[in-house]
């Protein structure tokens, strides 16, 4: 009998074979992260060397070490988990490597390093990455199955479990881990290392109290302020955002809506408090908002799958961030908001799927939309009342 020809399911053309595979998406994500990584290295390693204020070379290059150790740790842990989970299917070491390659295991570690303090204790970092990777990703079944963003799970674990260690430099217990060696020599007089930590301790909101200790708003925009390793530069995140949007890796509408909602909400609250335009600008430029909006809120696995769903998710993220950050007085507002919306995103996803049928709103879906909008407006107004 003649040889059978190859039979598979239609279609026989796949864009994945022509430069749009998941691997290229992930490579683009890495390229999109590079402005942030390069800026982090520039600010925390090169600047420190230039100013020469470091105690030891190890301290100066410590951010570089974490940037290497973090991704490696998470990839190794993923390999271990995959080996345990799939040991019946995996017979050769190359199979395991293939699985790891298809699981993109180094990303959670990289993200956790970028949203951690500059001089974080190495063991705290490794344990957090392990928890994020195992609890946030592998327990759900690995890549594509996770409900929560694994990086934020790891970071949240770090914040809750090592709250006394997280703010302390691993080189000098008297120093703050958020300040690099150069910043520590300049801004040590400031109470509260990062703008948001300082802001959360302020009793009286004013430009002089919130912004001036760290320079001006341009410094906030460029990122030459203390903060987590990769989060400080709005500009670097913006460049990454543009690249990723052009390459269609992320939906630009998500960061746009997210940041706009935070801006609007704090603008109205600020106006009631008699603050100028600096107040909402300060809020969107500080902390991990832009980083979270560009790289975490858009993470496809944990976002809704439809355009409307993503837009709803981003709107909710905006008001929740304000709620947690300003009303709840928690500098980690962005991370908390994203984890919260990972859960409610499922609800939105489930429900918007049906909104999309026929491309128009179904009558049955209107009550749900109304509920969503009322919750949104309620939180928006509640935020304003509570802040004022």
């Amino acid at each position: 009998m003649a040889t059978k020809y190859l039979v598979t399911n239609a279609p026989y053309l796949r864009s994945a074979d022509h430069g749009r595979s998941t691997h290229t998406v992930m490579r683009d994500l890495l390229i999109g992260l590079s402005p942030v990584i390069l800026f982090a290295i520039f600010k925390n390693v090169i600047m420190v060397f230039i100013k020469g204020t470091y105690v030891s070379v190890l301290q100066a290059i410590y951010p570089l070490i974490t940037l290497i150790v973090g991704p490696l740790t998470s990839a190794l842990i993923e390999m271990l988990c995959l080996f345990i989970m799939k040991r019946k299917e995996i017979t050769k070491f190359s199979d395991l490597l293939e699985e790891v390659k298809n699981g993109f295991g180094f990303f959670p570690g990289l993200f956790i390093v970028l949203i951690s303090p500059v001089y974080i204790n190495m063991w705290v970092l490794i344990v957090s990455i392990a928890v994020g990777e195992v609890v946030g990703k592998m327990l759900f079944g690995g890549f594509g199955q996770n409900i929560f963003n694994p990086a934020i799970i790891g970071r949240a674990f770090m914040a809750f479990s090592f709250s006394n260690l997280i703010g302390v430099s691993c080189f000098d217990p008297s120093m703050n881990s958020y300040l690099n060696a150069y910043e520590a020599s300049v801004v040590d007089a400031v109470a509260g290392a990062t703008p948001l930590i300082r802001y959360s301790t302020l009793t009286d909101v004013s430009y002089v109290g919130a912004v001036e200790p760290f320079g001006n708003l341009l410094d906030f925009f460029l990122g030459t302020i203390p903060g987590c390793l990769g989060e400080t530069s709005f500009l670097a995140c913006l460049i990454g955002c543009i690249y990723l949007s052009v390459r269609k890796v992320i939906d630009y509408k998500v960061p746009l809506i997210y940041v706009s909602v935070v801006f609007l909400n704090t603008l109205v609250a600020g106006l009631f408090m008699g603050q100028g335009i600096w107040y909402p600008t300060f809020q969107i430029l500080s902390g991990g908002l832009m980083f979270g909006a560009v790289y975490m809120a858009t993470e496809p696995v944990t976002s809704p799958k439809t355009n409307l769903g993503r837009a709803m998710n981003a709107m909710m993220l905006g008001v929740l961030t304000v709620l947690f950050r300003l009303v709840g007085n928690n500098p980690e507002g962005v991370a908390t908001a994203i984890v919260t919306m990972n859960i409610f995103g499922l609800v939105i996803n489930r429900y918007v799927v049906r909104v999309r049928v026929d491309g128009k709103l179904d009558k049955n879906e209107i009550p749900g939309l109304v509920i969503f909008l009322s919750i949104f407006v309620l939180i928006f107004i509640y935020n304003i009342i509570m802040i004022v």
């Binding site: 003649a2 040889t3 059978k4 020809y5 190859l6 039979v7 598979t8 399911n9 239609a10 279609p11 026989y12 053309l13 796949r14 864009s15 994945a16 074979d17 022509h18 749009r20 595979s21 998941t22 290229t24 998406v25 293939e98 298809n102 690995g142 890549f143 594509g144 199955q145 496809p300 696995v301 944990t302 976002s303 809704p304 799958k305 439809t306 355009n307 993503r310 996803n349 799927v353 049906r354 999309r356 049928v357 026929d358 491309g359 128009k360």
Partner: protein
């Protein structure tokens, strides 16, 4: 009225390779094979040993809209054999051996369409067993015997799948006959507005130039965007008539016919030959030459491929698809010894260099939902199918799927979404019938 915009995508055409040479002819096959079980079970009217004329009714389909199947050649019924049908299924087939006399039945001779009434035109369409040659194979007379008022007849010349150029060739080399047929299709629909829908792309400029001077005053050419699936009936009707419809285009006062159908109709009226031939594109990496061929229905593909120099030596069957139909919606075949039908437009021998690449987990990018022209969410449907949740599948409107293949096409993780949605659709339809 502002119309919603259906999500579509530009797809590379790969059409140039099959239109560089004039179409060949394959009108004298030794044997033809007519399936008795597919696409639907048939009542066979002839016995083995009978002599049949070209155009003699040899089978009648059962079902809601019965249509006759005519013999494409004159000759003798020599047996029943099993052969492959272009849906990758085996079917019993009648083998007819050619006597090369081309004796034709009288039914279609000396027709005078100018003096025929609408009813007579539809009647002759029914007798000829003409089915829509775009792919669905719906009997043409059913559309034209409507009692609704028909606002426009659209000839679908979009040919939106990559590689296929059979409709293009058919119209390019038979422009006058095509317009002649269109004139009487309009008469059969009692309609005064005829539209030829064609994609706005460079290679189509030639066809448009040929057709423009030939058009009657009640015909015009409408350009469609160069996107996939522009040839989908709903897309064509909604972009041209600016009306939406639920199930059939006639609800919007539109009849859509494929260009090849129109050509077959014209040949019957002018030359007295019932629809027994079809233009076919043979192309792909594994065949020596690419091109189009006018072939008798029921001819074996292997003999047609010989006209194009046969298959390349050294091609590896395990890495090659034989696609019956377009690369987006067609079926891949186990063996190349299948036959042509009225609805088969192309056979593509496509090498697949990526067959070993694994499907990854869903990344959740949502591209499948973004691109679905029926506004479905394939990824959710796949999940619900895995747990067999029929109620949820119904809510997700799986029956609206048109199997265009875009969701699998855009998926960066190579997930077979189209297949899953198709399965889900089948499942819901099957339970609905019970």
């Amino acid at each position: 009225m502002k119309i919603r915009r259906l999500p579509v995508l530009h797809i590379e055409g790969y059409k140039e390779q099959s239109i560089t040479t004039a179409p060949k002819e394959f009108l004298k096959p030794e044997h033809v094979y007519i399936p008795t079980l597919l696409p639907s079970p048939m009542d066979v009217k002839v016995e083995v040993g009978d002599h049949v004329l070209l155009g003699e009714v040899i089978m009648e389909s059962r079902g809601r809209f019965p249509y006759p199947v005519l013999s494409p050649i004159s000759g003798t019924v020599t047996g029943k054999v099993k052969k492959w049908y272009p849906s990758n299924k085996m079917s019993d087939m009648l083998e007819i051996t050619n006597d090369f006399k081309e004796e034709t039945v009288d039914t279609f001779k000396n027709l005078d369409p100018e003096n025929m009434t609408r009813e007579e035109l539809v009647e002759i369409m029914k007798k000829s067993g003409l089915v829509g040659q775009g792919g669905a194979g719906f009997p043409a007379y059913v559309k034209y015997s409507t009692t609704e008022k028909v606002d426009m007849v659209i000839i679908n010349l979009a040919e939106c799948e990559p590689f296929i150029t059979c409709d293009y060739t058919c119209v390019l080399y038979n422009a006058q006959l095509f317009i002649y047929g269109f004139r009487y299709l309009l008469k059969a629909a009692d309609c005064n507005q005829g539209i030829i829908a064609i994609k706005n792309k460079d290679i189509n400029a030639k066809v448009i130039d040929y057709l423009t001077p030939l058009l009657d005053s009640n015909m015009r050419i409408e350009l469609l965007e160069d996107v996939y699936p522009a040839g989908w009936e709903r897309y064509t009707v909604e972009t041209i008539s600016h009306k939406t419809y639920k199930a059939l285009p006639i609800e919007a006062g539109v009849i859509v016919s494929n260009a090849s159908t129109c050509y077959s109709f014209a040949r019957m009226l002018k030359e007295g030959i019932p629809p027994t031939v079809k233009y076919l594109t043979i192309t792909g990496d594994a065949v020596k030459n690419s091109g189009n061929v006018l072939a008798k229905i029921g001819s074996p593909i292997l003999e047609i491929v010989e006209l194009f120099g046969g298959l390349k030596e050294g091609h590896n069957p395990e890495n090659t698809h034989i696609i019956a139909g377009g690369p987006m919606t067609g079926k891949s075949m186990f063996f190349p010894d299948f036959i042509t039908t009225q609805t088969l437009g192309a056979v593509i021998f496509l090498e697949n260099k990526n067959k070993d690449k694994k499907q990854l987990e869903c990344l959740g990018c949502g591209r499948c939902a973004e691109r679905c022209p029926s506004f479905l969410t394939p990824v959710e449907i796949k999940k619900e199918l895995a747990v067999g949740n029929i109620e949820e599948l119904k809510k997700l409107n799986v029956t609206k799927c048109i199997q265009c293949g875009l969701c699998s096409f855009v998926c960066p993780s190579r997930i077979d979404l189209t297949y899953s949605v198709g399965k889900a659709k089948e499942m819901v339809l099957r339970l609905g019938r019970k």
